[in-house]
């Protein structure tokens, strides 16, 4: 977590301990802090304070967007069919929410719109899925595995044109660390963000719900967040989230340039030093901190072990409940052959990354790959 976030949250560990929904002085202090945080988040996300719903993170935000909109649509249209369209590369918190909704709610169908070979949403596939039965379209602002930025302004335009009933949701959990969300996704109805991707606390997040978007709550029994998300507020968490988002916004321009420079050095260095290395995404459409490469003829599980031992922390992919790596739905959506996908590694750079980190990776990775290929 960022230092300023820890500092901002500290008072809430002891001194300011009121329940934000309470009526006494301590409660008012907590409430004040919560609302200040809300104002800050709203401002940075181009929303009105009343449009910000604090959540426990990205997963909850995505679940709330999907189930909330589909339940409300079912209620409103009296059981008529509702379609939810998502891209093929959404985070499981969206994909699984969509498929569970389709399985459990009568009349709901989930349609998946494919991506091109660089991991960007294919707008023709999207158009094929859009019609007046669609109640929700969910396309992430940037993909967490490849880092590819999706064409949200075009998505919104196409949806308004061809699916007038549909709300547009974007999972901006990854993107919010690097992009100005309201500028990158103007006109979107629902936006998910998560604190831990911003250098803020884990277990915090927010869902922006545009005025006029109908959404049923997942958590009921208390009426908080304008009856969209019941439960005692995590005031410290909200303060941490807001502080982190503000810090990101402040450094964004400079950090983007700095980190992209490190990333380019890393990616170009590895592509040169390691034979048969593939960069799936188009560099220009990738977030500054993402370096995703596939090393043919290597098992990512083995590479992760060797790199971990050499002090380089990378991700081989999403883990299942047991901690074992699962095949990537993103790489298969892109059409990458399984043999190549098995060697996929993501290097994430961020506000703590230094040139020394990059040099270390450049020193360690080519040798590790060569060793595993021998």
């Amino acid at each position: 977590m960022r230092d300023e976030v820890v500092e901002a949250m500290a008072p809430f560990a002891g001194l300011v301990y009121g329940h934000a929904s309470g009526h006494h002085r301590q409660a008012r202090a907590a409430r004040q802090a919560l609302e200040d945080a809300r104002d800050q988040v709203a401002d940075l996300l181009g929303a009105a304070p009343g449009e910000v719903v604090f959540t426990s993170g990205g997963t909850e935000g995505d679940n709330l967007a999907v189930f909330g909109v589909l339940w409300a649509a079912a209620r409103r249209d009296g059981g008529a069919g509702s379609v939810v369209v998502s891209s093929a590369v959404e985070h499981p918190a969206v994909l699984e929410a969509c498929s569970v909704a389709a399985a459990r709610l009568p009349g709901v169908a989930h349609v998946v719109a494919g991506v091109d070979s660089r991991g960007v949403l294919d707008l023709d596939r999207l158009d094929e899925a859009l019609d007046e039965d669609v109640a929700l379209v969910s396309v992430m602002l940037a993909n967490n595995e490849l880092g590819t930025v999706q064409p949200l302004p075009a998505v919104v335009a196409h949806v308004r044109d061809r699916a007038p009933r549909a709300a547009v949701h974007t999972d901006a959990v990854q993107a919010a660390a690097w992009l100005d969300v309201p500028a990158s996704a103007p006109g979107v109805d629902l936006v998910t963000i998560s604190g831990h991707k911003l250098g803020g606390p884990k277990g915090t997040g927010a869902l922006v719900v545009r005025e006029g978007t109908e959404l049923d709550a997942l958590f009921v029994g208390g009426g908080q967040e304008r009856a969209r998300r019941a439960g005692t507020h995590d005031v410290a968490g909200a303060v941490g989230l807001a502080t982190a988002l503000a810090a990101v916004a402040k450094e964004r321009e400079e950090e983007s340039v700095r980190v992209a420079g490190l990333r380019d050095r890393l990616a170009d260095g590895l592509l040169e030093a390691v034979p048969a290395a593939v960069e799936v995404a188009e560099r220009a459409s990738v977030l500054p901190g993402h370096c995703h490469l596939c090393f043919a003829g290597v098992e990512r599980e083995e590479l992760v072990v060797l790199l971990d031992e050499a002090g380089v922390c990378v991700s081989g992919g999403a883990a299942c409940a047991s901690g074992a790596l699962e095949p990537s739905h993103v790489l298969s959506a892109v059409g990458l052959p399984p043999a190549v996908a098995r060697g996929s590694i993501r290097f994430s750079l961020g506000h703590t990354s230094t040139p020394e980190d990059v040099e270390r990776a450049l020193a360690v990775v080519p040798e590790a790959v060569a060793r595993l290929r021998a």
């Binding site: 971990d308 409940a321 047991s322 699962e326 060793r371 595993l372």
Partner: protein
């Protein structure tokens, strides 16, 4: 030495890891994810992975989870199902050792720069002039040399079995002393990819079409009854078969003909079995025709004195195992492990049973 320990979440592999750490080796733990479907038992379910991870934390060693579900499906589960479709009864835990643990995992350990692969198996590897030997574990009730009987010299050179010289009680006592979470955990008994609710029959019925079969008398050929699923009948079994007056053993299972032949105890004997070509392995030197050995036909079965020979099938050179005294019928697909009659703890080799020859009944 750098040692990769396969920790399953059970007490044996936990203590194996602990002993290696105590001996000062550079130890890393790995748990295998082998099966993604529903499972009840121990051996690598999600709960077991959590236990394994916790033990690794308690021992202060790094822990990884390796997803080998594809290999496992291809090399263990697929063949298990196919064998049943042909009336054979394989031992999937043996195939897992042969194809996954001491093959895929061992290769991975070598690539990752480990000097040894360790497991919690109750067996012993000993260095001796000319190579390595494989011996029973110290606890006769828990000896697992049978399921390791396929190992050869190059594998034994790379394997460490740290709890092989301990009894189970000693293993548990050690785990308790170390405060390991797995100290009191019961041993896993069943096949890891078949869960209790479905049983073997339920699992196979989801993968195979099962067919009913007639059950006939070995002597008269008279129909005694029927079974619902011929693919689930194992040569040598008694349970679940029509008795018609006395307990009868399945002595032959013919899936194609949809027929199970049963014989009463007095007639259910075999005197010889043949080993499937290509499945025979020797720990050290290959034994010659006429050599004597002890044959063990199940994980904790009583070893039977036997003599080795070659079948006279032309060009095949199949190993035959002729028993000194009649034995109960053995199902094709089971493993026969051979031990040294002069030194009964020493494993000589093993193979998969192709068929067993029924002893002709004594003339009346």
């Amino acid at each position: 030495m750098r040692v990769l320990v396969a920790i399953s979440g059970g007490v044996d592999s936990s203590v194996a890891a602990a002993r290696l750490v105590a001996e000062g080796h550079d130890v890393v733990g790995a748990t295998l994810k082998l099966w993604g479907g529903p499972q009840s038992s121990g051996c690598c379910s999600v709960a077991d992975v959590d236990d394994a991870r916790r033990v690794a934390q308690q021992l202060g060693i790094a822990h990884h989870v390796f997803n080998l579900t594809e290999d496992f499906e291809r090399d263990v589960v697929g063949p298990y199902v196919a064998a049943h479709a042909e009336g054979r009864t394989p031992n999937p835990c043996i195939e897992c050792n042969r194809r996954i643990k001491f093959d895929v995992l061992l290769a991975r350990a070598r690539r990752l720069g480990f000097d040894r692969l360790a497991t919690g198996h109750h067996a012993r590897v000993r260095a001796r002039p000319g190579g390595f030997s494989l011996r029973r574990g110290a606890d006769p009730l828990k000896d697992q040399s049978y399921v390791l009987s396929m190992l050869g010299q190059s594998q034994l050179a790379a394997v460490v079995l740290p709890v092989g010289d301990m009894t189970k009680d000693q293993v548990r006592a050690e785990a308790r002393r170390l405060g390991l979470r797995t100290a009191a955990k019961p041993d896993s008994q069943d096949v890891c990819f078949v869960h209790d609710a479905e049983g073997r029959g339920g699992f196979l019925s989801s993968r195979l079409e099962l067919h009913g079969a007639e059950v006939v008398c070995d002597e008269s050929g008279r129909r005694l009854g029927a079974v619902d699923a011929v693919e689930l009948v194992t040569v040598g079994q008694r349970r679940g078969l029509p008795a018609a007056g006395e307990r009868r053993y399945a002595v032959d299972v013919d899936v194609t003909a949809r027929r199970v032949t049963v014989a009463p105890a007095s007639r259910a004997f075999v005197d010889e079995l043949t080993v499937q070509p290509g499945t025979l392995t020797w720990v050290g030197r290959r034994l010659e025709d006429g050599a004597e050995a002890l044959a063990q036909l199940s994980a904790h079965g009583r070893p039977a004195r036997c003599t080795l020979g070659s079948s006279d099938a032309p060009g095949v050179g199949r190993l035959t195992v002729r028993f000194a005294s009649p034995e109960r019928p053995v199902a094709p697909g089971q493993t026969v492990a051979l031990y040294d009659p002069e030194d009964p703890d020493e494993v000589l080799g093993g193979g998969i049973v192709a068929s067993s020859r029924r002893l002709a009944p004594a003339p009346r």
